[in-house]
Subunit: 340 residues, 2 copies
DNA sequence: CTGAAAGCGCTTACAG
DNA sequence: CTGAAAGCGCTTACAG
């Protein structure tokens, strides 16, 4: 039996009051006679009335929700981001709405439009996105924080990982372990994180008078499978590299399984390091050395920036924050076993 | 400079047409003169106009969005669910809105209300939720699919993992390996998955004339840390169990790290198995045996059920689907090394 | 303490 | 091909 959704009107009618009164009851606002209140609540319950958020939002011009736009979601990285963001949103009395898996440009645009009407502000994590696309698809003056995006200008708050610094430090560390032939498994093409990490890697080599070499730079796309494939390619190189720098941990995990399959000893024959330090990294065997980023901190800080922007009605000086990284050194690069 | 959000009215005025025409242009509907269309588009672009989804939704009584309500999000499990759901939603031209980290009952209720107005249907994954709570917090006749929830009755579609069967089969397998003292690390209390898995474990013992023993049933909450703690407790038991059945992989990962820390050989001294078969399980060392569930299949199927419900205006016979499990047998229980 | 009415931003039969 | 007007479900000054 299909019944129409019950609205405030019907409740009002059945209770013999105006919609204004019902609204007051449901928002716990203004003075309402105790008896009236009880009657309205009873009727509402009997009718299974629940206020329609869309009507409400349109009226008050506020949604109390924050949107988080993500690229392809997989692995632990994104659940950590979501977790940090969700917690912080709730602390600030916002609900978090997540939308994911947008790889193609038109998907992103569609998602932007869908989200933009439903939230008071937006955290956007979308690798290749230009300012123009954002401006044409978002309402003027919607508070926005760009997470790991490459967008210049002063229109938006932004938050980035220190990819360059982290990658450079890690590659330096490998050199200090005595490695001279260090292969890198690159991240997704045209992805900002990927590019910066590669740049950091190259910089470290140069600083140590090692010429970067195209043969050592293997394509990858941040997935475990691509790491697996890349490792196989690397193992076939002659002379064989003695260390592998995977541009993220998922690819390092894939590489790890390839190396184990072939029976290569890590770190003795080949050292292996990753980037992100996802929670599972320390539980791998050998425990994976990685560039540590506070992943859920990413979510937390982005939401804090956004909440600030919303409170200021987006009328504030935009902030460009860079999150520092550190090295989590474990067995896979030859450092002593720890569970740091 | 704070400017008000630009609306359809302003575009209409600046373009010298009615709002109806602007609407037609933006929805690519009805006949609009090519010149008029171009003019409207130009003005809209110049003004950075983007249609307000809330106004639209209210008018057409449709949101083209589906909501996914999750409990605490962490680890790979949830990203996999989200991924499956997102993909399937997009295939059906719906946008997926995810809301997570609802543990307390009032948080869940708030989330239900917030979501319910913004979507055309809802997939709800919330371990302990009763039919009454759902009914009072959701609009009558909103299509809902319950994922891994324990709600009786015929009002909602539901989707569950065969937790009992999977756990029973895995415990049987351990017995076949010769284990007589099998400890179990339990999942979160009052969680349906947790209870069913425990029930399956006990059933297997009984079928093999092994008396279930309270000392072997260690508390846990599905997190890595709780698995770590539980393993320490188990190692102190005398006589010591020869196998550990963790109620999910995250806890197995925690247990793994505790065992390695103490220097216990897996599987020789203690066999270890998990549940879920998250992607990283096969990459652990030793590779983790686990009860395999198609996690992203969970998301996929739930969305398919929901889309069907929406199309039928919720006026269909409700379906109760149970997803089967299988055993992914690897090194950690003493089975040969494979990367299946 | 309560209600009539305007308004939030859109869509859509209807009439022209 | 185009517009005036009603309506979607709510909130909120304003008046009483």
């Amino acid at each position: 039996m299909l019944r129409k959704r019950v609205t405030i009107k019907e409740v009002a009618k059945k209770a013999g009051v105006s919609t204004a009164t019902v609204s007051r009851v449901f928002n716990n606002i203004g003075p309402v006679d105790a008896g009236t209140r009880r009657r309205v609540q009873q009727i509402a319950k009997r009718l299974h009335y629940t206020p329609n958020a869309v009507g409400r939002s349109l009226s008050i011009k506020r949604t109390d929700a924050i949107g988080l736009l993500l690229p392809d979601i997989f692995g632990e990285f994104f659940s950590e981001v979501i977790r940090g963001a969700d917690q912080t949103a709730q602390q600030n009395r916002y609900h978090l709405l997540v939308s994911g898996s947008h790889t193609h440009r038109d998907e992103v645009e569609a998602a932007l439009r869908v989200m933009s009407g439903r939230v008071d502000g937006l955290v956007i994590m979308s690798p290749h996105l230009d300012a123009q696309t954002l401006k044409t698809n978002l309402p003027l003056n919607l508070p926005v924080v760009l997470l790991n995006c490459f967008v210049d200008g002063v229109s938006f708050d932004s938050l980035n990982i220190d990819n360059f610094g982290g990658a450079c430090a890690m590659a330096q560390h490998l050199v200090q372990h005595g490695h001279q032939r260090i292969a890198v498994i690159k991240g997704t093409e045209k992805n900002l994180d990927a590019e910066e990490r590669l740049r950091g890697y190259r910089q470290a080599l140069r600083e140590n008078r090692i010429a970067p070499c195209a043969a050592w730079e293997i394509a990858g796309n941040f997935s475990e499978t691509s790491g697996y494939e890349a490792a196989k390619t690397i193992l076939a190189l002659r002379p064989r590299p003695t260390a592998i720098f995977a541009s993220n941990d998922s690819m390092a995990i894939g590489a790890l399984s390839a190396l184990r399959e072939i029976g290569v000893d890590i770190p003795r024959e080949i050292a292996l390091v990753g980037f992100d330090d996802i929670p599972v990294a320390r539980f791998l065997s050998p425990a994976l050395s990685s560039v540590r980023v506070s992943i859920n901190g990413l979510g937390t800080i982005a939401i804090k920036q956004l909440v600030h922007a919303i409170r200021e009605k987006n009328n504030h000086t935009k902030q460009h924050v860079i999150i520092p990284t550190s090295l989590a050194l474990r067995e896979s690069c030859g450092c002593p076993k720890t569970l740091q």
